[in-house]
């Protein structure tokens, strides 16, 4: 199971890296084109938006891998410590269920867009291919959380300061790794 998590995580990391590069390069090319040739680069902003959708959606998995999702801890103290382990499993299962529901709704949206033949304004790309990123992101997170429910030892520890500062260097699948401790 850790191999599945690692493979999903690796793929999502690379997608976000490429998407970031796509965003920066396309927008910069647009600025340069406008300054040099007095006309913007057709479709550059649309490409950047596609990159942003990829970063936004596949970033959810990166944040999950590194315990980066913000969580209110208001009621944590109410639950006796003895129930912690069971509650953690239940929490992962509930989050997994949430992502499954949204993966299902996103799949519905993708199928509808496919049927309608909707396309983007400038590049005329089929919208369903872009919406599929939302489905994939929710689905991979559902898989992650169901795995965490079965194998809580694979779940990364929550790290509020890490999530806020966006700094983590450790292996997200190794709960023993002191991510960001060097900072």
């Amino acid at each position: 199971m850790s191999a599945i998590l690692a493979a999903i995580g690796r793929a999502e990391r690379w997608i976000t890296i490429v998407a970031f590069a796509l965003m920066a390069v396309s927008l910069l090319a647009d600025v340069i084109s406008r300054r040099l040739f007095m006309t913007g680069l057709i479709g550059a902003t649309e490409v950047a938006v596609i990159g942003m959708v990829a970063v936004a959606m596949f970033g959810i998995g990166v944040a999950t891998d590194e315990g980066g999702h913000l969580r209110p801890r208001l009621f944590d103290a109410l639950i006796p410590k003895a129930l912690d382990s069971g509650l953690d499993r239940a929490a992962s299962a509930v989050t997994g269920l949430f992502f499954t529901v949204f993966a299902g709704l996103s799949a519905f949206m993708v199928i509808q867009s496919m049927g309608l033949g909707d396309r983007t304004e400038i590049l005329r790309a089929p919208i369903w291919t872009l919406q599929a990123m939302i489905f994939l992101a929710f689905a991979t997170n559902a898989v992650r959380f169901f795995i965490y429910a079965l194998r809580p030892d694979l779940k990364p520890s929550e790290d509020l300061e890490e999530s806020s500062a966006g700094a983590a260097d450790g292996d997200p699948h190794d709960p023993k790794t002191p991510d960001g401790a060097s900072r």
């Binding site: 942003m52 944040a63 999702h69 300061e161 999530s163 500062a165």
Partner: protein
């Protein structure tokens, strides 16, 4: 009845240790299922519409630019220059800390990144310079908050996005209030540390620091000058900031390798991966509330109860302070701005001015327990207990509250750079 069910569901999910994105996502599912003819798929469509927005492009790029610059040596170079400039001034190192935070805030849009980038270097220097631990922690934590007030600012982009207020105007409006806070922090540091001086001017030291920061100093000018000089939009400025950051750190300074760059990009993806789903589900709730006419109804209802601008301002600020203690700035902005901004406008408060009040106010939440993000970051960065950090920031919370009142009741401070303001 349905509203109580929704509240019960949220509380149950909080007991079940669910992240904010699940709370908001379930709330969106609930309202669309119960109040909107059983159409939960609208929530998925809202996610698509929320992330597929050109106006949001600036956020990931400013986050990445800030992360690159904090991982490299731009922060250190700015700090060294500030130290040389403030050497002969009483409490000069404290002033250097505040000015460094302000300088770094002008190229980063995040409070925690500013605190980490400047605090990582300045904390040790302040302690070695004889400044109290309490002052050092407080000054750096509160200086970090300048990161979300001085443009570029991620929360200001979120406010502009969710309320349809001009982001470029919000950025301009952040400058005056930030200067007020810098002046307050600097005056406090000056009075408290009057007897501490680093020495006289050092021409060679100043020239050396200036030469080292020659590529770092123009970055805010390129970003903000480009926006207000009409050369590029806020979004394009963010892309330019990334490219400039990579060029300066990787090619000119040679302080970042490609491996570092990859790691920084993944770090930024993580931050955005926690922000965007919250934004998307908050957007979904907002779409529902607007379609149901909730903000308008609230304005009508509360306009009869609230007696004038001052009362509204006090009530809104009290509410935001409490919310800021338990909810992060991004989520609070996305959820509350669409409800409060129409109320503020109905009271004759400029939407740009209200945006600044909101962000400064929620920024104080970075310093207040239990969820003060800068407190938690400072704990990790300075290896101090939560209690030590919390005690250290108390005087600075007071200073920020004083600053907030000035900013709230003197709108000209925020609006002075805006045409007609």
């Amino acid at each position: 009845m349905e509203m109580w069910l929704l509240v019960g569901l949220i509380v149950l999910l909080m007991v079940l240790r669910q992240p904010v994105l699940v709370l908001l996502g379930c709330a969106a599912l609930f309202v669309y299922s119960v109040f909107s003819d059983g159409r939960p798929e609208y929530a998925a469509y809202d996610v698509w519409f929320a992330v597929n927005q050109e106006v949001l492009l600036a956020i990931p790029l400013f986050v990445l630019a800030g992360a690159i610059m904090s991982k490299g040596t731009i922060a250190e170079r700015i700090i060294n220059l500030m130290r040389e400039i403030t050497r002969p001034i009483p409490g000069g190192l404290a002033l250097a800390a505040v000015l460094s935070c302000a300088g770094f805030a002008a190229i980063s849009g995040s409070a925690a990144v500013t605190l980490l980038a400047v605090g990582g270097i300045m904390y040790k220097a302040l302690i070695e310079g004889g400044y109290s631990k309490s002052f050092a922690i407080g000054a750096l934590c509160s200086g970090g908050v300048l990161g979300i007030i001085i443009p570029p600012s991620i929360p200001l982009i979120l406010y502009g996005y969710i309320t349809q207020v001009s982001i470029a105007q919000l950025f301009l409006a952040g400058i005056g209030p930030a200067l007020v806070l810098v002046a307050i922090f600097a005056a406090y540091g000056f009075i408290l540390n009057f007897k501490r001086r680093e020495g006289g001017w050092r021409v060679s030291g100043f020239i050396h620091a200036l030469r080292r920061s020659v590529f770092a100093l123009p970055i805010p000018i390129i970003i903000l000058g480009g926006i207000y000089g009409g050369i590029f939009t806020v979004t394009e400025a963010a892309a330019v900031a990334v490219v400039v950051a990579v060029f300066v750190e990787v090619i000119l300074h040679r302080d970042l390798s490609m491996t570092d760059l990859k790691a920084v990009t993944v770090e930024s993806s993580k931050l955005l991966g926690s922000l965007y789903p919250v934004l998307a589900f908050a957007f979904s709730l907002n779409v529902f509330l607007t379609a149901e006419g909730v903000p308008q109804a609230l304005v009508t209802e509360l306009n009869d109860v609230i007696d004038g601008k001052v009362e509204f301002m006090l009530m809104a600020n009290a509410l935001l302070l409490v919310v800021g203690m338990v909810i992060d700035v991004g989520s609070a902005t996305l959820v509350l701005a669409p409800l409060l901004q129409p109320l503020a406008e109905a009271q004759g408060i400029d939407p740009v001015h209200f945006g600044i009040i909101m962000i400064v106010n929620l920024g104080i939440g970075y310093l207040t327990p239990p969820l003060g993000l800068n407190l938690i970051v400072a704990m990790a960065a300075f290896k101090e207990s939560f209690w030590t950090v919390t005690k250290a920031v108390l005087p600075f919370i007071g200073l920020m509250l004083a600053g907030l009142m000035v900013i709230a009741f003197v709108p000209q401070i925020a609006l002075m750079f805006i045409a007609g303001g």
